[in-house]
């Protein structure tokens, strides 16, 4: 039975990275299609008419949208596998979903404000982001991964934002390594996994991209 798996993606997207990592963890062969978000393809608009966003996983012609929903779908479909992304215990599963959801709520939009703005707006965002990292560092504690010994959903949800660290540090003038050493050790551990290092672009490449984006955003205003 040949599965047809297509991923509509955009290389710097942290949400796209999550799906790449999940697919790689499961050893799934897929066709990655790079979208030009300023000129969205008819396929993207057809497969995700509600949000018109990547990532979209198209499995045997059927689309699945929203990165964490896609990751759970992948885990459920390719479940007879050595690398489950969610624990089997219901309470641990709820815990994993809680922290993945926390990361969704707290990191992306605040992070964008940190690298994308200046002055008071940036300072407020920086304070919020630091608080979120503090909470996450506390939750991680001494564990190898957020779920314990196994790399899982929460790690997949957060690790793409490691590619933002250099940008965040440089634009907002603070050191994530000094302030959140456990988080940075955890990130480096994750980056040692092939699935992660092949899916998360280099921090400097992301820095160039984000700065370019920031300049474009400001020139529009």
């Amino acid at each position: 039975m040949a599965d047809e798996v297509v991923l509509l993606d955009f290389w710097p997207s942290p949400f796209g990275m999550r799906v790449r990592i999940a697919l790689a963890e499961k050893g799934i062969h897929y066709e990655g299609r790079e979208e030009d978000l300023s000129n969205k393809s008819p396929l993207l608009l057809k497969m995700n008419p509600v949000n018109k966003q990547i990532p979209v996983l198209i499995h045997n012609g059927r689309p699945i949208s929203e990165s964490l929903i896609i990751v759970q779908y992948i885990d459920e479909v390719w479940s007879n596998n050595k690398s489950p992304l969610l624990p089997s215990d219901p309470y641990q599963r709820a815990n994993a979903r809680f922290w993945a959801d926390y990361i969704d709520k707290k990191i992306y939009s605040t992070g964008r404000l940190v690298w994308g703005t200046t002055g008071e707006v940036q300072e407020k965002a920086k304070k919020e982001l630091r608080e979120s990292f503090r909470v996450l560092e506390k939750e991680l504690a001494e564990k190898t991964y957020f779920g314990g010994d196994m790399f899982g959903l929460v790690d997949v949800a957060l690790i793409p934002f490691y590619s933002w660290f250099y940008t965040l540090e440089t634009t907002a003038n603070f050191s994530i390594t000094e302030e959140f050493p456990r988080l940075v050790s955890w990130a480096k551990r994750c980056m040692q996994r092939d699935s992660v290092s092949n899916s998360v672009p280099d921090q400097y490449k992301i820095y160039d991209f984000l700065l370019d984006l920031k300049n474009k955003m400001h020139s529009i205003q």
Partner: protein, 230 residues
């Protein structure tokens, strides 16, 4: 499991709390409902949900679970011998989760902001967006239910719970604005589904009466007006 082992910390007007109650009812789980006091927030709430300090919180054998949709999935996982809440197929689960996310991230926030709209133009714009969302959901219901009574098929499921919990507040908004939002002409399937949902055994005792919610909404709005500096 004895009654006191399962507790739900909640508030009667909250649609999110309602989700947890419906899920527990579907599974026929006996639980103790604790009405949160707020002002100030109870120690139990602060201890069991330190991250967000919000209801609902499900406490099962002293372990807290937070976030309404996560609670619903947890209830489905734990009481697995009862009727299923999530669909059985991974693809159907992904679709149900997608629409639940859409409701929480886009549709309900728009509905909420209708009440606080500044000026008639903004209100009209937001009402239009709510209506457009309902059209999408009508289409989704037709596709997902495959002609059956609910999003979940013959029985209410995850998406019914995720969406149906907002019907009370939808009616409040209709009452306060004088605009019919859930229209039998524009969204006939949704209108019928709404009636069936509200009449369902697992729902009717936990769905607050619209009149009570309207009173509550007016009280909230008065408080906000009083505390807003001019």
């Amino acid at each position: 499991m004895t009654k006191s082992e399962v507790k739900l910390l909640g508030a009667w007007p909250s649609p999110f709390v309602m989700r947890a109650r419906i899920a527990l009812n579907i599974k026929s789980v006996s639980y103790e409902f604790l009405e949160e006091t707020f002002q100030p927030k109870s120690q139990l709430l602060l201890d069991s949900n330190p991250v967000y300090k919000k209801v609902p919180v499900l406490i099962n054998q002293d372990k807290p679970i937070c976030e309404s949709l996560i609670i619903v999935q947890y209830v489905d996982d734990v009481w697995s011998s009862g009727p299923s809440i999530l669909p059985s197929e991974p693809y159907d689960r992904a679709i149900a989760r997608f629409w639940a996310t859409y409701l929480d991230d886009k549709w309900y926030p728009t509905l909420r902001s209708v009440r606080g709209a500044k000026g008639e133009d903004e209100r009209k714009k937001l009402i239009k967006e709510v209506g457009e969302g309902l059209t999408l959901l009508e289409d989704a219901l037709n596709k997902i239910s495959r002609g059956k009574d609910f999003f979940g098929g013959d029985q209410i499921g995850y998406l019914d719970i995720a969406f149906g919990c907002f019907l009370g507040w939808l009616r409040v908004t209709e009452s306060l604005t004088g605009v019919k939002l859930l229209d039998q002409v524009k969204t006939p399937c949704l209108a019928k589904w709404a009636e069936r949902f509200c009449a369902h055994g697992a729902v009717k005792d936990v769905m607050p009466q619209t009149e009570k919610l309207v009173e509550f909404a007016k009280m909230l709005m008065a408080k906000m007006a009083a505390s807003t500096p001019n």
